[in-house]
Amino acid sequence: MKFKLSIIAGLLLLFIFSLNLMADKQEKPAKHADVDWSVSCMECHQEVTPDAVKEWKSSKHGLMNFGCYMCHGDGQEEFYPQPGTERCIGCHSDYQIEPTQTTVKNCFDCHKGHTLKFHQKKD
């Protein structure tokens, strides 16, 4: 009896685990490397990705101090290594583009890198 129960319990666990894997496969949220979370994004990235920070600082986002977290999430609860258009429109909801007149798929197709300047134009 005990043996049977163990098998059932084992199968049940396997089933739950496989469900979990399926869920992971379906959603698979990006995960930021586990770092010292008492350090701010900016403080760390000034050291690890200084060029990105420099680009950001030269941008309008940098001028207004819209930090990393606005597009990339806080890194722990939410993390978007390659943010999509839906990260932009919370602020830029008044920007409307007629899809039939353009072939672009994403804000970042035109607003490149961390400067986000249109087609990288100087200004």
Partner: protein, 755 residues
């Protein structure tokens, strides 16, 4: 919760904004996530005093998103980073959901009836045994006008004590004193509309980029479109605002009065004064007597650029340059905030900035104004206008005037004799009286004084020993630790009400969702407390927010801040109205004391003759240019404490973190406090970046991480004050301005060593 967590996160992550307005933005993107069932509701931001219009996205009975209100003239659809996440705060894990009573040192859940019954019984006992002045109310510039109005009536009109204060005493009181003594009436003459018409901005003691980001954004846009626009900063510290500065005078903390006098001297000497405006619109005074213009000029002779440079640490050439910039600009707008107000000579500092406008005539015309920026969303509306300080009554009235007491008592339905003619205790005196046991019961609403008072730890004794009631939306806070009863208050979006912002604009906020848990609207908590205390006749009539607002605006009729043309029915349709707005067909007032101001327009022709402004708060309609002494801070640096400590804000956090501390993104941006120290000082003291150091003043010491950075000048250090764990206010000084009673948070003497 009808929404699944993942769905909520997805929505709040930002997609909802565009999706819900029903537009197809781009192929391939998330489409109309909630378009079928989401609704948007007009509101106002909960944070600083700028007053940004905000739309709240609601699905079911849940706030799921926010976006800037495109129709709002203040922010034109833009939000700062704090506001962007405000919807998340509504569902913070730290929301206080039930009344609680402290029993044997532990909070125990209680019913509303039990909690309010206890408070009413205790307050009545204390009142009977020790008199009405044994009780006090301490409110907030974040409370709605309706909420402060109810507290004012209960304490001043029914209990019979003027011990009614609010945290605007800690941030705005010096601006009030400045306007009253310079113009005769409180609050600015102009509005934000002046920004896009101005050629020069004088930012004094204001880190606009971080403390008032949407105002900063308007400055950035204006300057980028008009490169000739100049930004002149007077501040001890380099901040993100410097990104747009043309000239920055780095004054030693607390020593800027001489610089502003020196600028006035240069303006007059070099012919930038508007002699005709001065002749018709200005009187001169020192602290004792009226002066002639010549005597004022004589007074200014002390303030040569060299003298001011010696006092302030700024070079004489830069002072001259700054004065000429101000003088040469066709229009000029000065803006200031805590750097001027939180000083023992805050009123004087306010006067001196306004002096520059009065002597050059850069006031009362589009693009020119002396414009105080407010720190909290309803410090102006609820507390300054609503009379939520110990010497005030609603509608810019004062307790000392019999006619004012009678007018208010009549509307409140109480005998005029209930309202005492003598002001109650100002904030610092109030908490001192708690320490001494002179005040034995206090009701604290929507604020966190155990952390936000200067020299905070000194005042924990009184909070511990006396009967303390805290009405709050969040738990725990530094103050609830000392509470005997905590009452859960409805938060932004869960209640109706009006906020009045920096530019005299009153804006209506809709109730969008039901409060969390058992939380109730503060105005009705106070109403029900009043009824339980025995003031049934006085309070039972208030059934809705509109009942309270309608009564309040009736009290403003005929005053300089007439809001009688701004009932709920109208405010619901518009993006606020700037008073005076004396009738429902009046558009609101852009400029006070001049054409278009209904009070100016109604003046007899002989008073206005030959004048473009009439300061109707003064007997002869003339504003005052003040010859104030150039006194420094209360606690200057010395050999023992050689560094000047200043405190302030960062962009991503607000006050004591009860709200922003619940948002992961904002915590990630600035996870902890630090002390900024100039590299030269750090090198001398052997301190490296990220070292743990101890900052010490005569009041306390704080272990904290060092940030070696060129923002503070040598000889000064800076700590952002938001964190309970690194409580900067155990270091700050509780000396107050003798006029405004506002404490000198911005300057005290400190020393620093490696931990």
């Amino acid at each position: 919760m009808s929404l699944k967590r993942r769905e909520f996160i997805k929505a709040s992550a930002a997609a909802a904004a565009a999706a819900s307005i029903g537009v197809t933005l781009m192929p391939g993107m998330e489409k109309n996530l909630f378009a079928d069932s989401m609704t948007w509701h007009k509101s106002v931001c909960r944070y600083c005093g700028v007053g940004c219009g905000m739309m709240i996205g609601k699905k079911g009975n849940k706030v799921v998103a926010v976006k800037g209100d495109n129709e709002n003239t203040i922010n034109n659809g833009h939000l700062c980073v704090k506001a962007f996440y405000l919807h998340k705060v509504v569902y913070a894990k730290t929301r206080l959901l039930h009344p609680m009573i402290k029993k044997n040192g532990k909070f125990v859940k209680a019913s509303w009836d039990e909690a309010l019954g206890l408070v009413a019984t205790k307050f009545n006992e204390l009142r009977k045994q020790y008199g009405p002045d044994a009780l006090a109310f301490y409110g907030s510039g974040q409370a709605e006008t309706e909420e402060t109005y109810m507290a004012n009536k209960l304490w001043k009109g029914c209990i019979g004590t003027n011990n009614v204060e609010g945290n605007p005493r800690l941030c705005m009181a010096s601006a009030v004193g400045g306007y009253l003594t310079s113009f005769g009436k409180d609050e600015p003459a102009g509005t934000y509309e002046d920004i896009e018409k101005s050629n020069l901005f004088l930012l004094v003691g204001s880190n606009t980029a971080e403390a008032h980001p949407i105002v900063f954004e308007r400055l950035v846009r204006h300057k980028s479109k008009n490169p000739d626009v100049k930004i002149l900063i007077i501040d001890p510290r380099k901040t993100p605002t410097d990104q747009i500065a043309d000239l920055h005078l780095f004054v030693k903390p607390g020593w800027d009065l001489a610089v502003i006098h020196a600028m006035a001297r240069i303006l007059i000497k070099e012919g930038y004064a508007d002699e005709d405006f001065i002749k018709k619109h200005v009187n001169f005074r020192d602290n004792k007597k009226a002066l002639t213009y010549e005597e004022y000029k004589q007074f200014l002779e002390t303030f040569t650029p060299e003298y001011a440079a010696k006092i302030s640490g700024v070079s004489p050439d830069e002072i001259v340059k700054a004065a000429r910039m101000f003088g040469q600009a066709k229009t000029a707008m000065s803006m200031w905030t805590m750097g001027l107000n939180q000083r023992t000579r805050g009123v004087w500092a306010n006067n001196l900035v306004t002096n520059l406008h009065l002597i050059t005539g850069k006031i009362g015309v589009p693009g020119s104004d002396s414009f105080s920026l407010t720190g909290q969303p309803n410090a102006c509306g609820g507390v300054r206008e609503g009379g939520g300080l110990c010497h005030l009554l609603p509608g810019h009235r004062v307790v000392k005037k019999p006619a004012h007491r009678e007018a208010v008592a009549k509307v409140w339905g109480v005998p005029a004799s209930n309202i005492q003619p003598k002001p109650g205790k100002h904030t610092v005196a109030m908490f001192d009286a708690l320490n001494k046991g002179e005040i034995k019961g206090i009701y604290i609403m929507c604020t966190n004084p155990a952390q936000s008072l200067p020299n905070a730890s000194k005042y924990w004794k009184g909070l511990k020993e006396q009967f303390v009631v805290v009405a709050e939306s969040f738990f725990p806070t530094a103050t609830t630790e000392y509470a005997d009863v905590v009452l859960p208050a409805a938060f932004w979006s869960e209640k109706v009400g009006v906020y009045g912002c920096t530019e005299r604009r009153s804006q209506y906020m809709e109730k969008v969702v039901d409060p969390q848990g058992e939380a109730r609207w503060d105005a009705f908590i106070l109403r029900d407390l009043g009824i339980k205390m025995g003031f049934k006749k006085e309070f039972k009539k208030y059934k809705t927010g509109e009942d309270i607002w309608t009564e309040y605006i009736g009290l403003t009729k005929g005053t300089d801040m007439d809001l009688s043309g701004a009932p709920y029915s109208r405010l619901k349709k518009v993006r606020g109205l700037t008073w005076p707005v004396p009738s429902e067909d009046h558009p609101g007032t852009y400029k006070r004391y001049t054409n278009g101001d209904p009070l100016f327009d109604a003046l007899p022709a002989e008073k206005k003759q030959g004048r473009r402004m009439y300061f109707y708060g003064k007997p002869d309609g003339k504003a005052v240019v003040w010859a104030r002494p150039d006194k420094g801070p209360e606690e200057p640096t010395d050999a023992e404490y050689p560094l000047a400590l200043s405190t302030g804000r960062v962009l991503e956090h607000w006050h004591t973190l009860t709200m922003t501390g619940t948002v992961p993104e904002l915590n990630r941006a600035v996870p902890k406090a630090y002390v900024e120290i100039n590299p030269d000082d750090a090198q001398k003291m052997g301190i490296d970046n990220k070292d743990q150091v101890v900052v010490e003043t005569r009041r306390g010491k704080l272990k904290i991480e060092a940030r070696v950075i060129d923002r503070p000048e040598p000889g000064t250090i800076f700590i952002p004050w938001h964190w309970k764990e690194w409580m900067a206010n155990i270091l700050t000084i509780d000396a107050v301005d003798p006029g405004s009673k506002e404490p000198e948070y911005k300057v005290c003497a400190a020393r620093i060593r490696k931990a």
